[in-house]
């Protein structure tokens, strides 16, 4: 069959066939193959858990697809929490009429990304809804990670710490916009979507006080969250923000601010002055962190605020994203 039909979601034979011929086929492992209501996994002393649904449109984009994104998003949330990502669950909601060929492409991408990250999918679920009741495909991944010793979190952030980012900002956001209907433009920008756990492993050391992946809401919103949670201010230097020229051009064209564009393969790191050099050189030694750079510092005054020093020396606030990040026109 070419397309998803409602019967694929009935819980009956066709559902089974779909699971076996698409999901099992590509994701097979001893956990998933238990095929029980719940999957037994060996535990560890401390665990981290995270969940995210992925509703991205378009489903396939320059640099990835919703499946890759669903694995990276959750792996990265675990990794930035200082956890070793260990297990992922995978729950898919399919719209009637979705091409099974596309589904398989996505599942293969999930399989490949899960392999690359070294994090297996250990249980899953598939639902089908009528045409018009969903937008093609939604994916939820929930991740479990194990933690040895914990030293990252907003509470560890200290004034004087440095703020680092592992590379250019806004690439994912622009690549998605370019593929979106109604906003017709071509861009050379490719989504940065990638699993960051190995990169993070490479530089994770005492002195790394906090990490975040600046996804939806972008660097601006993520740093605002941290500034509030840690009761500090963060001062960015505009000149130091790494920006792909294509992102700069697209932002100019559409009136967008890269500080609020989503990233899916970048990690923000807050590190102590003692650790910053080591972290930076480790990051740059990794293929996903070549353009890593310090973009700012943590300070005490104006707690809860993110500030930005302009190239001419003025300072302004970088607020949270308010509502939709609409391309402005006029």
């Amino acid at each position: 069959m070419e397309r998803i039909i409602m019967a694929h979601g009935s819980g009956g034979r066709l559902s089974h066939q779909l699971v076996e011929e698409i999901f099992q086929k590509h994701l097979s492992n001893d956990f998933l193959n238990q095929m029980n209501d719940a999957t037994y996994i060996p535990g560890s002393e401390k665990l981290a858990i995270t969940t995210d649904s992925f509703v991205i449109s378009p489903v396939f984009f320059r640099g990835g697809d919703i499946g890759k994104l669903a694995v990276c998003g959750t792996v990265n949330d675990l990794a930035v929490s200082g956890a070793q990502p260990r297990y992922l669950s995978l729950a898919v909601i399919l719209e009637e009429g979705f091409l099974i060929e596309d589904l398989e492409r996505i599942v293969m991408s999930i399989a490949e990304t899960s392999r690359k990250a070294g994090v297996p999918i250990v249980c899953g679920d598939t639902k089908v809804v009528e045409r018009g009741s969903a937008d093609k495909i939604f994916i939820n991944t929930t991740g479990i990670g194990s933690i040895q010793e914990r030293w990252v979190g907003p509470q560890y952030i200290k004034p004087g710490d440095y703020v680092l980012i592992s590379g250019t900002i806004g690439d994912h956001g622009i690549s998605i916009l370019a593929d979106r209907e109604g906003l017709e433009f071509e861009t050379p920008v490719i989504s940065d979507c990638a699993p960051l756990n190995h990169l993070i492993d490479s530089f994770y050391m005492p002195g790394v006080h906090c990490m975040r992946d600046p996804t939806r809401g972008g660097v601006g919103t993520t740093l605002n969250e941290l500034a509030r949670q840690a009761h500090v201010s963060i001062l960015l230097e505009e000149e130091k923000l790494p920006l792909h020229p294509g992102v700069a051009g697209a932002c100019g064209m559409l009136g967008l601010d890269p500080l609020y564009l989503a990233n899916e393969g970048k990690v923000l790191v807050i590190a102590s002055p003692e650790a910053v050099e080591g972290v930076l050189s480790q990051m740059r030694a990794h293929p996903l962190g070549k353009e890593a750079t310090v973009i700012g510092r943590v300070a005490e005054d104006d707690p809860g605020f993110v500030l930005l020093k302009t190239p001419l020396g003025g300072k302004r606030i970088v607020g949270m994203l308010e509502g939709e990040h609409l391309p402005r026109i006029c």
Partner: protein
């Protein structure tokens, strides 16, 4: 907001031009600048080229941007 970076006209088809902004390409209307030619830099607003940018300024601006971009790349 009115956009302040110049876009270079890559091709023209009747009243529509493809313009390039640092690698990003887009179709804009040329109804307000019928005299525009391929290679010109235009100011784009709300999907239309509203004015042709003075040649000399435009070039300088783009060179500056590219230079800066290269500088970043080399970081």
């Amino acid at each position: 907001m009115c956009i302040a970076i110049p876009a270079r006209v890559v091709s023209i088809d009747e009243m529509l031009a493809k313009v390039d902004m640092m690698g990003n390409e887009r179709i804009v209307g040329t109804h307000l600048v019928p005299e525009v030619q391929v290679g010109d830099y235009v100011l784009v607003h709300a999907g239309f080229a509203i004015e042709i940018v003075d040649q000399q300024y435009a070039k300088e601006t783009e060179e500056l941007l590219i230079e800066e971009a290269n500088a970043r790349e080399e970081l």
